[in-house]
């Protein structure tokens, strides 16, 4: 196999599970067998790929695949496989394969099984990505992914409250840890100057001697210890046992919780060996090792016992890593593998017991050996390995641990205590392992079990059998089986520091062996003594029972997210809009004024010379309109609307005056549409009459108004000063000259504004029309649910007067006057429709060269439509004219997207424009840049969006009489 193929395979190894996950999630929920086959195939494929890549990692070699991601920031999608990550990949894919086989029989048909396998595969992909990342940022991303997917897996039975709580707790704890780790890794990248793992691994001295070493260490440790459920973050793992058992077997024994120790081992060469490392990691590890082993004895739930035992074994690995000696690191890697084999099989056995008997409570289980001898035998071997009985793999790594524990690494209390703690924890391990086996499989026949136990299907036992076989083989002939693989992993981590070690089963009558022997005998004795108590005791260890980690966690969570949050909201928050507006504007003023005053802002002196009197009068009118609108908006809404239109018109004339024809056209058209829009809305607002006696206004109200006035005037004056100062200064060099110079030569149009919109900054415009479409749809859906207020339901006064007139005159039919209203204008407006359509086309086609363009044309056409509604009424129009605004919108979006994508076909980036002129008969020379297609999309979308908004509003008047009738009917019913 060439190196190129190997690199591709490495990429496939990470990507395949994610692809499989996507396929699995799209399967129908009853295709569980298909999903299992899919997952099994993928796990097998991953295992095969991993196996085939072994030759590339032996003797400390490293296989790398680099794909440029954001190379400007030194970020690459780098996958990196060395012996250590090979070992983990093999472990992950092998156990995944076994667990898939097991889960196929474990999961019940009622559960959405494809969803389970989809998340399972995604987790496997994330885990493989985590161990194979060659870049710190990538590693962090996969780290987060494992947290998130494990949240989903723990909460798989989301109808179960325990599962939800457990999932949330796991996510909160590991997520917080992940965040710390991310910051820590960013700091590492900062210190080393690269995020590349190879560079980081080669800069151990730089990191250890840097002043940021302790913060980095703390942050990375929080990440690793939360993930590996080390004290004091251990409490989430027992809660996570609410997950389906295959999840526990895969995540909580072999993979997810190993991510923490994986990280510690990975960074062991660059971070370990200092006092800070020794104390922090050592304290966490030792306390976890001892306490969890003790707690495990008192669990009544099978999976709870296994969870605490897992925590304890992870603690053992952590202690080994804390010591800082290469031999201890070897033992740590070895124990990681051993623990995965026996613990995954024990979880699966616990799942079988649960599955077949319906309970996991050890007080109810007993004497199961007679029903399921094969499962029982396998579980006994695995437990013996967990307890560290000779000739099993657990014994080997435990012996290495004891040997390291008695070794003196540093002269201090912690180091002196280590061998005693180790022996004690090992003693407890014997006790809980024995308890697991003895309680469940021996003793009297069980009574009143939820279901009659029997041996499960053979394929459910097969994975356990395989793992137990591995325990035995590794335990008896270690150097022939695991030896080379372990050596490859050790060399890749320790490199030159690789010590001489021996994997022999028998090392002679030495101290570690006596420690093992003592633990074995004392552990059995302890169980004999405690058996009567444990047979009936409540869940959890005495005394410590009250001090539960998850309780403290819940309490902290409630305090922060509920009590404090509510307090802050009560003290500092408001649901009222006005204070928020005041704060917002005030903050804006302060934020603008502070740097200006600090930078000694000097407004230009006012120069009254050279003012065009017409322009000045125009603006006097404009200002009067604005102030008038502000003054009238409360009681005289129509007047305010007219004045607002006046202000808009002045703006529009200003644009014409100051060389902005495009803006003027668009502003004028928008002005018309806005006015129509607000006119349509006015009807539904409550009537409001001036009370007359303004003197009766309270002092509070007056003060508030005065304060608002001061803020408004301050903002206005400030804006005036700033704009005046900027406008009177010379123009600095900007990118605008670029557009002016190249609009014709590169954009193929002479109207620079339009060329900018559809060509140079086409992507911005694309975003903007998308926003417009979203707004139109929002308006549409809001109005679908809108019910006018009851008091606005009756017909407007004018219509009532006219109907009354009809009623008084016998020769007239009711409604005739209303229909005749504006008769002549309506005919003219009908005639105007084609004219406006033509005008819109004109605006559109000249757009690229002369003022106009898609925006203006779209709004013009929508005015044509809305005029028909105004003149002839909604019903009349809709009987004759089928407008589908939603189609206009979607066609617009599709056309502009397709135009953008079109440039890909010619090998150019998104939205690259091709331009040329064409001579058309009758019309003459016309710009035919591909941008005109894009502009066509803009035109279509703007038309659709505007019409949709206007029609939706106009429709309210059709709906309201019906709603009125209904409400009249309803009230009639209530009375009768």
């Amino acid at each position: 196999m060439t190196i190129e193929i190997a690199q591709t395979l490495l990429l496939l190894l990470v990507l395949t599970p994610f692809v499989g996950s996507l396929i699995a999630i799209s399967l129908p929920s009853d295709r569980s067998t298909l999903a299992a086959w899919l997952s099994g195939t993928i796990a097998f494929l991953c295992l095969a790929i991993t196996t085939s890549l072994y030759v590339f990692v032996i003797e400390g070699r490293v296989l790398r695949t680099d794909i440029a991601w954001i190379p400007q920031f030194g970020l690459n999608f780098t996958l990196r496989m060395d012996g250590f990550s090979w070992l983990f990949s093999a472990l992950i894919s092998a156990i995944a394969l076994l667990v898939v086989v097991y889960a196929r029989y474990y999961m019940s048909a009622e559960d959405p099984v494809p969803r389970f396998f989809s998340m399972f595969l995604a987790f496997m992909g994330a885990m493989l990505g985590l161990v194979l990342s060659g870049n710190l940022i990538l590693l962090s991303i996969f780290w987060e992914l494992t947290s998130i997917i494990s949240f989903l897996l723990i909460g798989y039975w989301y109808h179960n409250a325990n599962a939800r709580d457990g999932a949330r707790m796991a996510l909160t704890v590991t997520g917080t840890g992940g965040l710390c780790l991310f910051v820590g890794l960013l700091l590492v990248g900062h210190v080393v100057g690269s995020y590349d793992l190879d560079v980081v691994l080669a800069s151990g001295d730089t990191i250890r001697d840097h002043p940021l070493y302790v913060p980095i260490l703390l942050l990375v440790l929080v990440g690793a210890l939360t993930k590996s459920a080390q004290f004091p973050f251990h409490f989430w793992l027992p809660q996570a046992m609410a997950a389906p058992t295959p999840v526990s077997a895969f995540l909580h024994s072999a993979t997810l919780v190993k991510a923490g120790v994986f990280l510690l081992t990975r960074f062991w060469p660059v971070m370990a060996g200092t006092d800070a490392w020794f104390w922090l990691v050592g304290l966490a590890g030792l306390s976890t090792l001892l306490l969890s082993a003790y707690f495990a004895i008192f669990q009544q739930d099978l999976k709870g016992l296994l969870a605490y035992s897992t925590i304890s074994h992870l603690g053992l690995i952590t202690v080994l890593l804390s010591l800082g000696s290469p031999l201890a690191a070897v033992a740590a890697i070895f124990h990681t593998v051993n623990h995965a084999t026996f613990k995954a099989s024990l979880f699966m056995a616990a799942g079988i017991i649960d599955h077949e008997t319906g309970t996991r409570d050890m007080r109810r289980l007993s004497g199961l050996f007679r029903y399921m001898p094969i499962t029982a035998t396998l579980a006994m071997v695995a437990s013996a390995s967990m307890a560290g009985v000779p000739l099993l793999n657990g014994f080997l790594s435990k012996e290495m641990f004891f040997a390291e524990a008695i070794e003196t690494h540093r002269v201090n209390l912690l180091d002196t205590l280590t061998p005693y703690v180790a022996t004690l924890a090992s003693l407890f391990a014997v006790t809980y392992s024995l308890r697991f086996i003895y309680t469940v499989f021996f003793g009297p026949k069980p009574h009143d079990l939820p279901s009659e136990p029997h041996e499960p299907p053979p394929w459910m036992i097969a994975p356990i059998g395989f793992l137990v076989l591995a325990c035995l083989v590794i335990g008896i002939v270690p150097s022939l089986t695991i030896g080379p693989l372990l050596h490859t992993a050790v060399v890749s981590v320790l490199r030159d520091a690789t010590p001489v070690y021996s994997l022999a089963v028998w090392h002679g009558w030495n101290l570690p062996f006596f420690m093992s022997l003592f633990a074995l005998v004392a552990g059995i004795l302890l169980y004999v003594v405690m058996r009567p108590y444990l047979a009936t005791s409540v869940e959890g260890p005495p005394y410590f029972r009250r001090l539960q980690g998850q309780r403290i966690f819940e309490r902290i969570l409630v305090t922060i997210s509920w009590k404090w949050a509510r307090m802050v909201e009560m003290k500092a928050g408001t649901r009222r809009l006005q204070p928020q507006m005041r704060i917002l504007i005030f903050a804006a003023i302060v934020a603008t004024a502070t740097p200006l005053l600090g930078g000694r802002f000097q407004p230009t002196d006012f120069a009254f010379r050279g003012i065009d009197p017409v322009f000045a009068i125009l603006w006097l009118i404009g200002m009067a309109c604005a102030v008038g609108a502000a003054y009238q908006a409360k009681f005289h809404r129509l007047a305010a609307l007219v004045l607002l239109g006046g202000a808009g018109l002045v703006t529009c004339i200003t644009f014409v005056w100051l060389s902005a024809p495009d803006l003027a056209v668009t502003q004028l058209l928008v002005e018309i549409v806005t006015t129509v829009l607000i006119l349509l809305g006015l009807r539904w607002l409550p009537k409001r009459f001036e009370k007359g006696d303004a003197a009766a206004m309270s002092v509070g109200v007056r003060m508030r108004r005065l304060r608002d006035l001061v803020v408004a005037v301050t903002a206005g004056v400030g804006l005036m000063l700033i704009s005046y100062t900027v406008m009177t200064r010379p123009m600095p060099e900007t990118i605008s000259s670029y557009f002016l110079e190249r609009a014709y030569s590169e954009g193929g149009g002479t109207n620079v504004v339009n060329v900018i919109l559809v060509d140079f900054r086409g992507f911005d415009t694309f975003g903007e029309i998308a926003v417009l479409a979203i707004v139109a749809l929002t308006v549409f859906s809001l109005l679908l649910r809108f019910r006018p207020a009851a008091e606005s339901l009756e017909r407007p006064e004018q219509q009532r007067v006219q109907n009354a007139f009809d009623a008084r005159h016998p020769e007239r039919e009711t409604g005739e006057s209303v229909a005749e209203y504006l008769h002549i204008p309506s005919v003219i407006m009908r005639w105007l429709f084609p004219v406006i359509g033509m005008f819109a086309a004109f605006l559109f086609f000249r757009g690229h060269d002369l003022p106009g363009g898609g925006f203006a044309a779209g709004i013009a056409l929508s005015i044509g439509f809305i005029l028909q509604y105004m003149s002839s009424g909604t019903r009349w129009v809709e009987e004759r004219l089928r407008i589908h605004p939603l189609r206009w919108i979607s066609v617009g979006l599709l056309v502009s997207t397709a135009t953008g994508l079109g440039s890909w076909m010619f090998g150019y980036p998104f939205l690259t424009t091709h331009s040329r002129y064409a001579d058309l008969p009758l019309i003459g020379e016309m710009p035919l840049a591909s941008a005109i297609l894009f502009d066509l999309g803009v035109f279509s979308l703007v038309t659709g969006a505007t019409v949709l908004i206007l029609i939706a509003l106009a429709h309210q008047s059709v709906r309201s009489p019906r709603a009125h009738m209904r409400s009249v009917k309803l009230s009639g019913k209530e009375k009768s």
Binding site: A630, R637, A660, V711, V726, F739
Partner: protein, 113 residues
């Protein structure tokens, strides 16, 4: 010219902000419309004020600041006008919906005590 326009911008903005503080939804909608005029004019003014220099080129001739005004603020304002319209429409509809649901036109959906 600059003085008149900047005074206009100031008055538009002041009136708009005053209306933003008012309790009636319609006032807020009108205020936002006024404020958006002011902001559009402000952005437009950043390209400096020029008479008879629209950014429309002669065919085949590269443009420059000697003969043409700054096209960039105009392009920004053009989309701002359309988006401003969309925003006014959205607020108007939110106003109507809130009026329908709460039965009054106060910005908080309920009258002050």
């Amino acid at each position: 010219m600059e003085l008149v326009l900047s005074a206009g911008i100031g008055v538009f903005a002041g009136s708009g902000i005053w209306l933003l503080f008012r309790p009636r939804t319609y006032q807020v909608v009108v205020g936002l419309a006024l404020l958006s005029y002011a902001v559009n004019l402000f952005i437009f003014g950043m390209g400096r004020l020029r008479l008879n220099a629209p950014p429309v080129l002669e065919k085949g001739v590269a443009g420059g600041f000697l003969t043409h005004t700054d096209p960039l603020p105009q392009a920004l304002v053009l989309t701002a006008i359309v988006i401003g319209f969309a925003m006014t429409a959205l607020f108007l509809v939110v106003l109507l919906a809130s009026r329908g649901f709460t039965g009054n036109d106060h910005v908080d959906g309920r009258e002050e005590r």
